[in-house]
Symmetry: C2
């Protein structure tokens, strides 16, 4: 047993027996313990800080740069760079945990009108006439005839495995059977034949496969009733917290499968949780519709995402085949299907298509817009006649990355900030002691800093400002939001000049993308009737402050609507409506994608937007500082 | 090792180690030795006679009835009723062997005109443009675009497994790839993407899955050239020689799989043989088209054939799904497909549909007929406007069953007979010493007997005949064709009154079926331009004698054409032509099936046909005895 060691992780007190030489990050994965990780295990983000409590490890040069002498002496190492060579007890400190993530399960509130309510899998009960010598058509012809009476004149296809059981099923059940039928493009498939009438039970699952979180909704397909919703952090995060680092991991030799399987595990756990809550079995689920960005959709299906990342940004597929969920290891009914909502391009995915569908933009006579802000900002604008979209890389600032004290919107994150003189008041997620500051907190911060003239409209700290919270460390000015005695870690929470520079670039990229798209179609912001803001981040934004720093366009507040998880809503619409699913393909195919990386007007707009609120003040008439 | 024994079969000198208590029939199967078997192991046909050379067996009551005292003493037993309880050496005597079967590999000679030559799987070489930032559609969209340029505007579907390799395949091959494309109903499937240009190599297999023999043709799909043809006895015969006994076996608990797998083994062996002859690999084959009667098609696909056999004669399927050949264990390219030609009804199968297609009946302005004579006689009549068909049970007489000295058309079978006075001259298959008499020999026999007034037109032996070959044994008159000293077994070859009675019923059923069908459509025999006679049995028939005994209708000889294995020809047409495959479905759906078992005119015709040539002599004006 000298080549296997036990690694115990605190405070969860979970352990794994691992091979000698695997990394602590891998050991944590095996112990089902979450360790933060932005870079995908490259040892460059310094997020996977852990502390060795007992047992010995070899010091690693790369780790040293991330820790003070004191920290090194007390046993801090990077989990991704440290090999297991001994039995170990390891502490995962608060800043490295991923806990109590705020998972966006709220959605578009208004129900969509005008969608036919024909779910993508239907269970049809048939009482077929017994064969006679005058009517001795084949079994499958008899079933098809019965289905045609109920569903219309279609050609019904059947898999060999289903056909093999048909003869016995029909006769055992005295020709009273329930056929589960799914439409796939222009044809109908018979998925299963059950004995007797099981048509009252048809369940489906809508899944939003987000980079950060995976959210699933259990739906009764006949009534459209949502029976439950649950979410969990995307377990792919252990291979890299953002899309790019996960892509890099997946494109290494042997890297695709673990990343693919991680999200399958997520979904299977959510299925297990949701069905057991309702005393159902996973077998009761006959259909899943999944929506995600293009990389998430590729990883879900086990498609290589490698060419997505590199110019000219080519995905393997935009429209994905309908598959049996079992083909990718998802544990529902063995004949149950999975539809993945179509993408538009490498950086405008099925989540945006779902959002456009959920908001009804593609059926609106008025021009409407949708924006989903994350590491990328995806923007779609259009109406029932046309649709355009683009995606801009916003950097990780809004998700808590690239910022000294940044963190995701999880427990302990400062999400709201107000500054009055030298007094700072803030609000944290879960009302916990602050551990860092998340995207919405950063936006508040910038707004409050510029309003109080602590930073100037060019985003630089005001050298004339005498605020005691404004200090200089290592030649870089910084502003203290929370003093050490206020925080969980005992370290101060600060915002530095370089944090602000990053945030300026992020907000500039988003605004420049919106502006470029509006200009491209020859409209003004005024002509956009409604601007939907989607996604987890959006829901916690302060609209006025977001406009005031020049992130969102300066249009009347009531025309900006937070719509929560529109990706989930769109997925559910497609689950409950064949027509919606078909519409999603039409949307993805008809949406014109502007590739901003090759679009000069975007570069110009980006430079012009690196100011608070903007170099062109006429664009922000309502901003009063 | 006391519960396993070795059983060695002579003269092949092949052995198997088997569990104690299995039957000799099963041991023979395991040793890959063929033992005749008509009843499917029920111990009622007495065909599986074998002789124990060494080792002891327990005598079986059921066996005793089939052997003389002398035979029992010399060690004869029934293989299906005798358990292995010792190490054994077993002789399979000549009459129990199935060897040198004449396998019908000849086919329709004239090539069909007007069939488009678009094989059902095509390999299309594409040199795709490299993606650029202006043209960064998804990989699958790029492939589809390339295919549309060559094959027209279709929607191309792709399996998940093929999609998963697409990105790497395209980039490794610098976007120069070969797509294998198959049509399935109204859509196109991309089966494989190969790197570079492999479009010159596309091979396919046409298979006639006959009850007695399985014949396969290896075809180069581009040119349509037949590279090789091979056949072997259907290995299902060890579970019952005819369709009914195999069905009974397959419908026992656990019986389906062995019968299904036996024919798969046949096909895999033929594939292995045909490809190695041409220095190809089974992987080079991308498509198979199989034609067989309805039961054979069901057993090929692993569908339960149970309801086919019993009134109201309902098959599981008439049109079969396109499947991957690997789904049923056929060893060709893993992405290669298998199409099974559609049936019309339980007793008019894909072999007849293939025949109608091969003969061009469904495109002929004149009315034509097709007849396939075996245990069942299947008849189809029609032209380009209409098609009717029926099937009559002829009994096993034409296949050598139900007749004292009957045997299949294999080595040693008397296939031609002439009687002149008390002299009989005959011809055997392979010019071997006679072992028995096959179907065509029996027809000759009856004709010669009635012509020489040894039997009378009512089919009974002429009591006034003084021919020394006409004797009485056990009160039953019999006529000796070959004396013991002439035969391989040392037993005489005779034809008994009961053999003749059976043969009268067989020929009567076939003629009654033809007559009923012609009457049903309100035509006379004269209006049938050509009568095609298909199948192995047909090819060795003497037309004039067949007419003279009232088996075939009395039409001018030149209008009756033997067309050999039209099932194989039709299958090959469908392999080489999407249009032909689609036509086969149209034929199967448009052909009106008359269920003779419920059709009173057939009963009347049957009774009227139990005479030589017929009770209504006006139907046979050319017959001169």
């Amino acid at each position: 047993m000298a080549d296997k060691f036990q690694v115990r992780f605190m405070p969860d007190n979970r352990s794994a027996i691992v091979e000698k030489g695997v990394t602590l990050a891998e050991a944590a994965r095996q112990a089902d313990v979450f360790v933060k990780n932005l870079c995908g295990g490259e040892g460059v983000c310094g997020q996977c800080r852990v502390k060795i409590l007992s047992g010995s490890v070899e010091p690693d040069e790369q780790s040293m740069a991330f820790f003070s002498q004191e920290e090194l002496e007390s046993g801090y190492v990077l989990a991704c760079q440290t090999e297991v060579l001994d039995n170990l007890e390891v502490l995962i400190p608060p800043e490295t945990r991923m806990e109590d993530a705020k998972i966006m399960i709220a959605e578009v509130e208004e129900g969509r009108e005008g969608l036919t309510t024909v779910p993508i899998v239907r269970k049809i009960y048939l009482e077929l006439p017994q064969p006679t010598i005058e009517d001795n058509v084949s079994d499958i012809a008899r079933v098809s005839r019965g289905l045609r009476k109920k569903l219309g004149w279609h050609s019904y296809e059947i898999s060999l495995s289903c056909l093999r059981r048909l003869s016995e099923n029909l006769r055992d059940a005295d020709f009273k059977i329930t056929a589960s039928v799914a439409k796939d493009k222009n044809r109908y498939k018979i998925l299963r034949i059950d004995k007797g009438d099981t048509s009252h039970q048809t369940y489906g699952l809508a899944v939003d496969v987000g980079t950060t979180t995976v959210v699933a909704q259990l739906v009764e397909m006949g009534s459209g009733k949502v029976l439950g919703v649950a979410g969990s952090p995307n377990q792919q995060a252990s291979f890299g917290e953002d899309v790019i680092s996960r892509t890099i991991y997946a494109c290494k030799e042997g890297g695709l499968n673990p990343v693919h399987e991680a999200v399958i595990k997520n979904i299977n756990e959510l299925i297990s949780q949701l069905t057991s809550e309702k005393n159902l079995s996973p077998e009761d689920i006959m259909a899943i519709v999944a929506a995600g960005n293009t990389t998430m959709s590729h990883l879900l299906l086990g498609l290589l995402p490698c060419s997505i990342r590199l110019e000219p940004y080519v995905p393997t597929a935009d429209v994905y085949p309908q598959i049996f969920a079992r083909e990718i290891g998802i544990n529902i009914n063995p004949e149950g299907i999975l539809e993945t909502l179509p993408s538009v391009s490498s950086y405008v995915g099925g989540d945006i298509v779902a959002g456009v569908l959920a908001c009804g933009i593609s059926e609106s006579p008025q021009v409407q817009g949708l924006i989903d802000i994350g590491t990328n900002g995806e923007i779609a604008i259009g109406n029932l006649d046309w649709l355009v979209c683009c995606s801009a890389s916003a950097g990780p600032a809004f998700e808590g990355g690239g910022t000294r004290c940044g963190m995701r919107a999880t427990r302990g994150a400062i999400e709201k900030v107000e500054i009055s003189g030298d007094q700072v008041s803030y609000q944290t997620i879960g009302n916990a002691k602050p551990r860092g500051i998340c995207g919405s907190g950063l936006i508040d911060c910038i707004y409050e800093l510029v309003k109080n003239q602590i930073i100037l409209p060019d985003g630089k700290f005001n050298k004339d400002c005498k605020d005691p919270r404004l200090t200089v460390a290592d030649d870089i000015p910084q502003y203290t939001i929370a003093y050490p005695e206020e925080t969980e870690t005992g370290e101060p929470i600060v915002i530095t000049q370089s944090d602000i520079d990053n945030l300026m670039k992020s907000k500039g990229a988003i605004f420049a993308a919106i502006k470029s798209l509006v200009d491209y179609i020859g409209l003004s912001f005024d002509s956009i009737e409604t601007f939907y803001v989607a996604g987890g981040f959006g829901s916690y934004l302060d609209i006025e402050k977001s406009i005031a720093i020049g992130l969102l366009p300066d249009i009347p507040k009531e025309r900006i609507k937070f719509i929560g998880n529109s990706s989930l809503t769109g997925a559910r619409y497609c689950l409950l409506s064949e027509a919606a699913l078909e519409k999603s393909v039409v949307i993805s195919r008809s949406m014109t994608n502007i590739e901003l990386s090759a679009y000069q007007p975007f570069m110009d707009e980006f430079v012009a937007a690196l100011f608070l609120p903007h170099t062109d003040r006429r664009l922000f008439p309502s901003v009063d500082y």
